[in-house]
């Protein structure tokens, strides 16, 4: 058995993210670009290394190619290590047959052997689709102090949003007394962030029991945690303050990007004490021409900017030609916005081309029917033809012909 490791992390990165539509057509949700030069998975991975957790298993299942390629040997996160490091864990063939990861708990269950190799005392189970900066070491400290079997990171959310979350009730000591899953009339605003710290010995047994239960859907939130709770295990809520966002939908991904421009949103990526690492593009600095107007925006290296940019996030190697206008939009790596095109309230995926004079998205203030308003999305590699119009809320995965309106 290997040298004892106090804490390892298991990162659930198998989700399809179907609500992100064309953005996750060919990539898993954790590989979706975010914030000008990152991908969503950079956040939990960087949190791990910044918290001193150097053994990370990344559980992949849906469209893992790009994610595997991106993580590689883990070098960008300092996770290429002699002991531990980052490991991609895909479902594999076993004597009793091959099984996909049936649920979050089953995914960990299928990798009990991997975890046992490191003989850890604690296992952090993280999800690969949240944007937040968190010190798991502090959470582990709390977990140890409380002598808990499981600690769940908890965020107090605004009451009006509470019904979208799994909620918790706690006593004065922070011990969880009850759960409520997405209730219509929430009585608590303490939401689970989907970040768990387990005492491995306990979790191991509950995973085996859960697997033997034919009625279980093998999910942490639905099955394992409630089972632990019913059995009277010590479950604690660890209060977290700071920015946290589930970027599971088009709107939330768009908002989370624009939050970077909002000083009130409290997500600071320039903090050198808690860097977010990523595999960056090898490219020159960005060039801003004398025709360009750029304000209140974020732009990454390799961009060539000649147009007008306002309240937007440009990823690396984006080209915005003269006279083009990008407003309240997210433009992902390698996309080209040609002369006179307008991209507003939209997300343009990797390597898409917006031809001259095309208009993508609508400004809600100028929209006749706000009911039908929403962020427009142009899929990866899609070309929107000359003078074509992509209406609000449209999601485009095929090329749009010249002059067409979709």
């Amino acid at each position: 058995m290997a040298k004892k490791t106090e804490c390892i992390a298991m990162l659930l990165a198998g989700g399809q993210g179907s609500r992100l539509g064309v953005l996750t057509k060919n990539i898993a949700k954790p590989a979706v670009p975010y914030g000008g030069k990152y991908r969503i998975i950079d956040f939990p991975l960087s949190n791990c290394v910044n918290s001193g957790i150097y053994t990370v298993g990344v559980l992949t299942q849906y469209q893992p190619l790009e994610l595997n390629d991106y993580i590689g040997n883990g070098g960008p996160w300092d996770l290429d290590r002699a002991n531990g490091g980052v490991h991609i864990l895909s479902p594999y063939q076993q004597i009793k047959g091959t099984e996909w990861y049936k649920g979050t708990a089953n995914a960990i269950y299928q990798n009990i052997q991997f975890i046992d190799r490191y003989n850890p005392e604690y296992v952090a189970v993280l999800s690969g689709d949240h944007i937040y900066k968190m010190d798991y070491a502090k959470m582990l400290q709390f977990h140890k102090e409380k002598d808990a079997a499981c600690t769940i990171a908890m965020l107090e959310v605004p009451w009006e949003e509470a019904s979208r979350f799994g909620l918790m009730f706690t006593d004065d000591d922070g011990r969880i007394t009850a759960f409520e899953e997405k209730p219509k009339n929430p009585k608590s605003n303490k939401a689970s962030m989907g970040v768990y710290m387990f005492t491995w010995e306990k979790l191991r047994q509950y995973l085996i029991d859960d697997e033997n239960d034919p009625n279980s859907s093998n999910d942490f939130g639905k099955n394992v945690i409630p089972a632990m709770h019913e059995a009277g295990e010590r479950l604690f809520a660890y209060g977290f303050e700071g920015y946290w966002k589930d970027v599971g939908t088009i709107d939330s991904l768009w908002e989370a990007n624009l939050d970077l421009l909002n000083p009130k949103a409290n997500i600071d990526l320039s903090d050198s004490a808690w860097k977010i690492y990523g595999r960056g593009a090898v490219t020159a600095p960005q060039y801003v021409s004398d025709k360009a107007v750029i304000e209140n925006s974020i732009a990454a290296e390799g961009c060539e900017i000649e147009g007008k940019i306002d309240y937007s996030v440009l990823f690396s190697n984006v080209t915005v030609e003269e006279g083009a206008f990008v407003d309240y939009s997210i433009v992902m790596p390698g996309a080209v916005i040609k002369k006179g095109a307008v991209v507003q309230y939209a997300m343009v995926a990797e390597n898409a081309v917006i031809e001259e004079g095309a208009v993508v998205g609508e400004n809600p203030e100028k929209c006749d029917n706000l009911e039908n308003w929403g962020v427009s999305v142009v899929g990866a590699g899609v070309t929107v033809g000359k003078n074509a119009v992509v209406k609000a809320q449209s999601m485009i995965s095929e090329d749009v012909k010249e002059g067409e309106t979709v």
Binding site: G36, I276, S289, N296, I298
Partner: protein, 372 residues
């Protein structure tokens, strides 16, 4: 010729003195350039992009920043079990006192390293030459011409560096004569000091140099051998620049504001690799203005930036105006400060409301970590 069969050697201290205060505490190779690079990145990237797998970096003095920058060679994929990157610092303190431009002495010192390398050819380059060229074409040229030595050259005004070779070539690009430090204002074919040579020949020449106490690579090994050896000149057609003064350094940076220069230097097929810093992308504040400038990640621009090169982590506060300037890593320009034709070194601070101005032919230099 297989690039794997070529050993790349970089002089990191080439002509340090020509940049004065910029190289007071660093080598020529670690001088910041173009917003996110160090000069050595161009030589290293040229090497690895053509397939060279073993690189030696000769360092004589002031090489802490260089060591910090190249590290194990990972960004260039030169951190390897077989071959890879080798730093070659001096053995004894005495050697640091030698003229850093003395190629013969420097090569003599690393002759064991060269001899023990399995490569049959050696490519010598200087770190003050900026270009992005396909070296495999140079190797093919060398083979086609059946040359003993191939020297890459550029056409233009000769750089004002000691021992600059001006090459006279016949119609077949064969070297017929060499002028050293020629006094002329007209364009010449000057050596870019990218020199390809068979290892066995280099060993012999350096051995001879030691026996006869030769001191000049250019004069004693090239000029004297024009008629004895097959020496050829290979013209660099891509954009290139030899840094020979603060003025050329300033102009080379500013040249990056031309689209054609950027296209040539930052080609997609031959990327320029550098150490990664993991800064966040550039943040433009409300009311920020930016025109005709090159800006690297990690910058926060709240004021106005025009015709400038801005390195990683620079902050330009509200109301500040930066024009025709080069701001290196983590420089800070306070509110309402005005800069024109200024080179700010790393970690410098301009406090609010200060005005600093140089001239394009004589930019004002603010040394590392100075607060004004």
């Amino acid at each position: 010729m297989m690039p794997k069969n070529v050993l790349g050697i970089i002089y990191s201290n080439s002509y340090d003195a020509s940049l004065g205060a910029l190289t007071a505490r660093r080598t020529m190779g670690s001088v910041p350039f173009g917003g996110r690079y160090r000069l050595i990145d161009f030589a290293l990237s040229n090497f690895v992009n053509c397939g060279i797998t073993k690189v030696g970096v000769i360092a004589n003095s002031n090489f802490h920043s260089l060591m910090d920058h190249v590290g194990s060679g990972r960004p260039w994929d030169l951190s390897r079990k077989v071959d890879g990157l080798y730093m070659l610092p001096p053995f004894t303190p005495r050697q640091t006192e030698l003229d850093a431009n003395d190629r013969i002495e420097a090569l003599n010192r690393i002759m064991d390293f060269i001899s023990h390398s399995k490569q049959e050819y050696v490519l010598l380059v200087d770190s003050n030459v900026i270009c992005n060229i396909d070296l495999s074409k140079l190797f093919n040229f060398h083979e086609e011409k059946n040359a003993d030595i191939t020297i890459a050259y550029a056409n233009g005004k000769a750089p004002k560096l000691g021992r600059t070779m001006a090459l006279s070539l016949d119609e077949n690009d064969k070297l017929t004569g060499v002028g050293i430090d020629v006094k002329t204002d007209s364009d010449v074919n000057y050596s870019a000091n990218i020199i390809l040579i068979r290892k066995a020949l280099l060993e012999r020449l350096i051995g001879d140099a030691e026996s006869y106490a030769y001191t000049s690579f250019e004069k004693d090994l090239i000029q004297k051998n024009v008629s004895h050896l097959n020496i050829y000149g290979y013209k660099i057609n891509d954009w290139n620049c030899t840094i020979d003064s603060v003025e050329t350094y300033f102009n080379a940076n500013m040249a990056l504001l031309e689209k054609a220069t950027r296209k040539s230097l930052f080609s997609a097929e031959r990327p320029v690799y550098t150490k990664v810093r993991n800064d966040m992308p550039v943040v433009y504040g409300i009311g920020s203005k930016c025109e005709n400038s090159l800006i690297a990640d990690g910058c926060q621009i709240e004021g106005t930036v025009k015709n400038s090169i801005i390195f990683r982590g620079v902050r330009v506060a509200k109301g500040a105006v930066v024009e025709n300037s080069i701001l290196m890593q983590d420089a800070f320009v306070g509110e309402d400060a005005k800069l024109n034709c200024v080179i700010m070194d790393k970690n410098t601070v301009i406090t609010p409301k200060k005005t600093l101005s140089g001239d394009k032919s004589y930019p004002l230099f603010v040394g590392k970590e100075i607060v004004i």
